[in-house]
C-alpha cells in the first residue's frame, strides 16, 4: 500500500474519532433527557392520582365542614387555569397546595371521631398515603435522573457537546421546606 494512502487513512481515522465521540455523547445526553422527561411524567401521574383521591376525601368530609371544601375548590380553580404541561415550579406549587388541603383535612379528622371510624374514609386515607409514597418515589427518581444529567452537562468535555446541542441544566423538583419530611398522617 502506498505511503500516502496510509497517511490519508490515519488522518481520516483521527478526524472520525471526535465525530464518533460527539455522536455517542450527544445520544447519551439525549437518552438521559428522555429519562428525565419520563420521570417528570411519572410525577404528573402521581400528582393527578393524589388530586383525585384528595377530591374524594373532600367530598366525604363535605358534610362535616365547609372550609376545607372551599379551600379545595380554590385549588381546583387554580389547576384549571394552569396549562396541561406545567413547569416543574408549577408542579411544586400544585403539590404544596394539595399538602395544605391535606393538612387541613387531617385537622378535621381529629375533631370528628365518627369520620375517623368510617371505613370509606379510612380506606381513602390509606390510598392517600400510598399515593404520597408514589409521588415521593417519582420525585426522587426525577431528581436522581436530573442530577445525573446535570453532572454530565457541567463535566468537561461533555459540556462542549451539551452546549452545541443547547442542552441546559434541569431544575430539581424540590419539596417545600415545611414538607421535606413525609406528610404526617394520623389514623
Amino acid at each position: 500500500m502506498p505511503e500516502y494512502v496510509i497517511v490519508i487513512i490515519i488522518i481520516a481515522v483521527l478526524l472520525l474519532i471526535p465525530v464518533v465521540w460527539f455522536i455517542v455523547t450527544m445520544n447519551g445526553l439525549r437518552r438521559l433527557k428522555v429519562k428525565v422527561n419520563e420521570a417528570e411524567s411519572g410525577i404528573d401521574v402521581a400528582l393527578t392520582k393524589r388530586f383525585d383521591v384528595l377530591s374524594k376525601m373532600v367530598d366525604t368530609v363535605k358534610g362535616y365542614t365547609k372550609h376545607e371544601s372551599e379551600t379545595f375548590e380554590k385549588v381546583v380553580k387554580w389547576r384549571q387555569n394552569m396549562p396541561d404541561d406545567m413547569s416543574v415550579k408549577q408542579k411544586e406549587e400544585f403539590m404544596e397546595k394539595m399538602n395544605q388541603v391535606q393538612a387541613d383535612l387531617n385537622l378535621v379528622v381529629e375533631n370528628y371521631p365518627d369520620l375517623k371510624a368510617e371505613k370509606v374514609f379510612t380506606n381513602l386515607q390509606r390510598s392517600i398515603s400510598d399515593v404520597e409514597e408514589h409521588l415521593q418515589a417519582s420525585r426522587r427518581m426525577f431528581n436522581a435522573n436530573v442530577s445525573r444529567l446535570n453532572s454530565r452537562i457541567v463535566s468537561f468535555p461533555t459540556s462542549i457537546v451539551a452546549k452545541q446541542i443547547h442542552m441546559e441544566k434541569q431544575p430539581f423538583f424540590e419539596a417545600e421546606p415545611s414538607k421535606r419530611q413525609d406528610v404526617k398522617m394520623s389514623f
Binding site: K119, R126, D130, E133, Q136, A137, S138, R140, A144
Partner: protein, 299 residues
C-alpha cells in the same frame, strides 16, 4: 417430650468422646503399624476405632434429631406467634413446598445438589413469614496432573450457598420486581436493569436491579435503604433481597446450618441464647423494615 438441656448435652458429650477415642485408636493403629512389626492386636485397635467413630457419629446425629424435634420445636413455638418448627421439612417437595420457593427469589443460582431443612414459619407483628435452611452445591470439574504426569479430570460438588432463605409478606402492593444484591446477580428471564438510587453509600454496598425504575424508588425509600444497610452491617457481604409479587425474599449466606448442633459446643444457656438471637433477627427484620406498617393495603 421436652427434656432439659443437660439430657442432650450428656448424650452429645458421649458421642464426642466416642468419636475422639475412635480417631485416637485409628491414629495409634497407623503409628504402631509404621514403627513396629504388624501384630493381630493392631487390627482389633482399628476395628474398635472404626466402631467408636461410627457409634459416636450415630449418637451425635440421634441427639441432634431429638434435640430439634423435642426441645427446639417447643422452644421456637413459644417464641413466635403461630410458630412451627419442622426440622425434616424445608423448601422441598415434602408437605407442599418446592425448591422454586428458593429460586423464585430470582437471584439464587440453580443447584446441582439441593438440600433444605429446618423449616420455620409463623407470624411476627401480623406479618407471615416462612424460612428454611438451604444448602446448594454446583458440580465442578477440576483438572489435575497425577504422579505419572497424566492430566485427569475430577468431578466435585462445591457449596455456593449455605444459609437461610426467608419469605415475608410485604406491606406494599407494587408492579414489577426489584433485586437488591450484594454477592449475587439476577437469575431470571425477566429484563432487569441496573438502577442507581440517590443514596451513594447504598449504591456502593448493593447493586439494585429492577424491571420498573419507579418501583425501585417506591420500595426503596430512604428509611428502607438505611434499614437494609443495617441488616447488611450485621451480616456483611452475605445478604440478598428481592421484592417480587408483593413478597420480600431474603437470603442470608452463613456457611453453616442455623439450628444444627456444633461439635464441642456445649448445649447450654449460651447456646440457647444464640438460637434466641436467630429469632430476634427475624423480629428485627420486620421491625427495621417496617413490614408491619401495613397502611398501604386496603382491608
Amino acid at each position: 417430650m421436652k427434656r432439659d438441656l443437660a439430657y442432650y448435652q450428656k448424650r452429645k458429650s458421649f458421642a464426642e468422646i466416642g468419636v475422639v477415642a475412635g480417631i485416637l485408636l485409628m491414629a495409634l493403629f497407623v503409628l504402631l503399624s509404621i514403627v513396629t512389626e504388624f501384630m493381630e492386636f493392631y487390627t482389633i485397635l482399628m476395628v474398635l476405632g472404626l466402631v467408636l467413630i461410627f457409634v459416636g457419629t450415630g449418637l451425635f446425629q440421634w441427639t441432634q434429631r431429638k434435640f430439634k424435634q423435642e426441645y427446639l420445636k417447643s422452644y421456637l413455638s413459644d417464641l413466635i406467634e403461630d410458630g412451627e418448627f419442622i426440622p425434616k421439612k424445608g423448601f422441598n417437595r415434602v408437605q407442599g413446598l418446592h425448591p422454586n420457593d428458593v429460586y423464585m427469589s430470582e437471584f439464587i443460582e440453580r443447584a446441582d445438589r439441593y438440600y433444605s431443612y429446618d423449616y420455620l414459619h409463623g407470624v411476627i407483628d401480623g406479618i407471615k413469614f416462612q424460612s428454611s435452611d438451604v444448602h446448594l452445591q454446583r458440580l465442578e470439574y477440576r483438572t489435575y496432573t497425577d504422579s505419572k504426569g497424566n492430566r485427569k479430570r475430577k468431578r466435585q460438588y462445591v457449596t455456593f450457598f449455605k444459609g437461610r432463605v426467608f419469605h415475608f409478606d410485604f406491606n406494599k402492593n407494587f408492579d414489577g420486581c426489584v433485586l437488591v444484591l450484594e454477592r449475587y446477580r439476577p437469575r431470571s428471564n425477566r429484563k432487569y436493569k441496573k438502577v442507581e438510587l440517590e443514596y451513594v453509600d447504598f449504591n456502593k454496598k448493593f447493586k439494585t436491579f429492577t424491571t420498573k425504575e419507579h418501583t425501585a424508588f417506591y420500595i426503596l425509600t430512604p428509611h428502607f435503604m438505611e434499614s437494609l444497610m443495617k441488616v447488611e452491617k450485621e451480616n456483611p457481604g452475605n445478604v440478598g433481597f428481592s421484592f417480587i409479587d408483593n413478597k420480600l425474599y431474603f437470603a442470608l449466606h452463613k456457611n453453616r446450618s442455623t439450628f444444627s448442633l456444633r461439635p464441642f459446643r456445649k448445649i447450654d444457656e449460651r447456646y440457647l441464647q444464640s438460637i434466641h438471637d436467630e429469632v430476634e433477627m427475624i423480629y428485627n427484620m420486620v421491625d427495621d423494615l417496617k413490614l408491619n406498617r401495613n397502611i398501604f393495603k386496603e382491608d
